[in-house]
């Protein structure tokens, strides 16, 4: 009778206690001074090496469609990618396909580029927001000036120093797609054939992208905050990915423990009933 009460009490535990356990786990893990060496998967190494292979002065398109809802996953990726591009002295342009993504990426890019002495208009530019990614990518594949017209500060594309010698996406070396949604398929479907793509999805979208990695439609991928940590490790920097990774891995341990605990309680309750 006592055991039955215990197992059924375990299975009927108030969900608010579960929430509290999760919160305590995360707070504890964030404050822990533990740093574990990452395992660098081939996709992350390939991502890093694709940017490393570029030459100073090459131009990269950063497609930044993320907003506040996926801040914790995409912001570490965005910051690490921009730091890498600036370290390699690459030119880059940013474009957004949702309204909040425009301001978030522009404000963040302004802060990061100021730290590295990059000048907007000269070394980098933001093309603002366009609602339809398919039309934008298809249009930019032929003529960026006609597809985008001007940057976020209303400077015509032809007058931007960063766009000197660049007419269309065919002149770009690489696209980095940082996104929580399905923008990758639009880039793959409508970009110029030889334009390389590397991908920074949230973890939810990552599992579906392995098929694109296998067919070499994307050359590398960093998955969420965890991928950002591995990428930061390759870059030798400490960013948000490094700060989050402890909490990520110990939350996984917690959730696995509780799944097993829940199943064990169910099993024991069944046994004690029979």
């Amino acid at each position: 009778m006592e055991q039955r009460t215990l197992w059924s009490r375990m299975m009927a535990i108030d969900r608010r206690i579960l929430y509290l356990i999760l919160a305590v786990n995360i707070v504890g893990a964030l404050m822990a001074r533990v740093v574990l060496e990452p395992n660098i998967p081939p996709a992350v190494r390939s991502f890093y090496e694709t940017i490393e292979a570029l030459q100073p002065g090459d131009i990269v398109m950063v497609s930044s469609t993320w907003s506040a809802g996926t801040l914790a996953e995409n912001q570490p990726q965005f910051e690490a990618v921009l730091r890498h591009l600036m370290r390699k002295r690459l030119r880059f342009t940013i474009i957004s396909f949702t309204p909040p993504a425009r301001d978030i990426s522009h404000r963040l890019a302004r802060r990061l580029t100021r730290e590295q002495g990059y000048v907007e208009g000269k070394d980098w530019a933001h093309f603002g927001y366009t609602p339809d990614i398919v039309l934008a990518v298809k249009g930019m594949s032929e003529d960026i000036a006609q597809a985008v017209r001007q940057d976020v500060r209303r400077v015509p594309i032809q007058q931007l120093e960063v766009m000197r010698g660049i007419k269309s996406l065919k002149d770009y070396k690489l696209v980095v797609d940082i996104t929580p949604s399905d923008t990758l398929t639009a880039w793959i479907s409508f970009r110029p054939r030889d334009l390389k793509i590397i991908y920074c999805p949230t973890s939810v979208m990552a599992a579906e992208a392995y098929t694109f990695l296998d067919s070499k439609q994307i050359l590398g991928m960093i998955t969420g905050a965890k991928g950002a940590y591995e990428y930061e490790h390759l870059l030798g920097i400490v960013g948000l990915g490094t700060r989050f990774i402890n909490a990520i891995q110990f939350s996984h341990v917690l959730i696995i423990t509780f799944i097993l605990l829940g199943n064990f309680a169910m099993f024991m309750q069944r046994r004690s009933r029979s």
Partner: protein, 226 residues
């Protein structure tokens, strides 16, 4: 005492951080139970999100792609675009609502027309990738292909065919086909398990980001990790 002075909202930056923390805690109050505090901030969020989109849509899109080409480049036919697009807003009218379907039809037609290019660019390379898997040592191979690669390729092809069989509904699954489809269903669970694992990581990361903001920016507690 220094910490307390730095913590309190005594300047614009700290006040802003406090407002952010209050917004965060107000939303988290739903975890305890439904309350008016949560409802207030929820409605504020919806209003802010809807209001924010107006700026970029009006200025970054309509001004950039409509007003300025008409005014600066003299592309006069563009004048018809916005009135034509405004037909969409008749959807709320019972009598004239059908005219919105003209614009919807144009958008759907455009998406459908673009689907051919999307199909060929997206799926044909994947089909090619699947068909070009090396399943045995090619003639004149110089030892660059390992047995593990060949084994993995066989596994890839078997899984692909099994899962495709499971998704084939044109005929009844019987005998060997049924067993293959069952295998496909089990293997599909592997893909779903991978998705589940990654989904858990994604959601936890979003929560971790919020807790990090509360600890680092608001409470100014030192965070570990690097």
């Amino acid at each position: 005492m220094d910490w307390l002075l730095a913590f309190l909202p005594l300047n614009f930056e700290r006040t802003s951080i406090w407002i952010g923390a209050i917004c965060t805690l107000a939303i988290y109050s739903i975890l305890y139970r439904e309350n008016p505090f949560y409802r207030l901030f929820e409605h504020m969020f919806v209003g802010l999100a809807a209001g924010y989109a107006l700026g970029p849509n009006l200025v970054d899109v309509i001004y950039r792609f409509w007003w300025e080409p008409i005014r600066q480049d003299g592309i006069w036919w563009l004048s018809f675009v916005v009135p034509f697009g405004m037909y969409l807003y008749f959807i709320y009218n019972e009598k004239y609502g059908w005219v919105s379907r003209i614009v919807i039809g144009a958008l759907i037609g455009a998406s459908a027309g673009l689907a051919f290019q999307a199909f060929s660019s997206r799926y044909l390379p994947q089909l090619q990738g699947a068909l070009s898997k090396v399943l045995w040592y090619p003639p004149n191979s110089t030892g660059e292909i390992y047995i593990s690669t060949i084994l993995n390729n066989w596994i890839f092809v078997v899984i692909l065919l099994a899962v495709l069989t499971y998704f084939t509904f044109s005929f009844e699954h019987r005998g060997a086909v049924k067993r293959t489809a069952t295998l496909g269903r089990w293997l599909l669970m592997i893909g779903l398990g991978a998705i589940f694992g990654n989904t858990v990581m994604a959601r936890m990361a979003l929560l971790i980001g919020r807790v990090y903001y509360l600890l680092d920016s608001w409470l100014m507690v030192r965070i570990g990790g690097g």
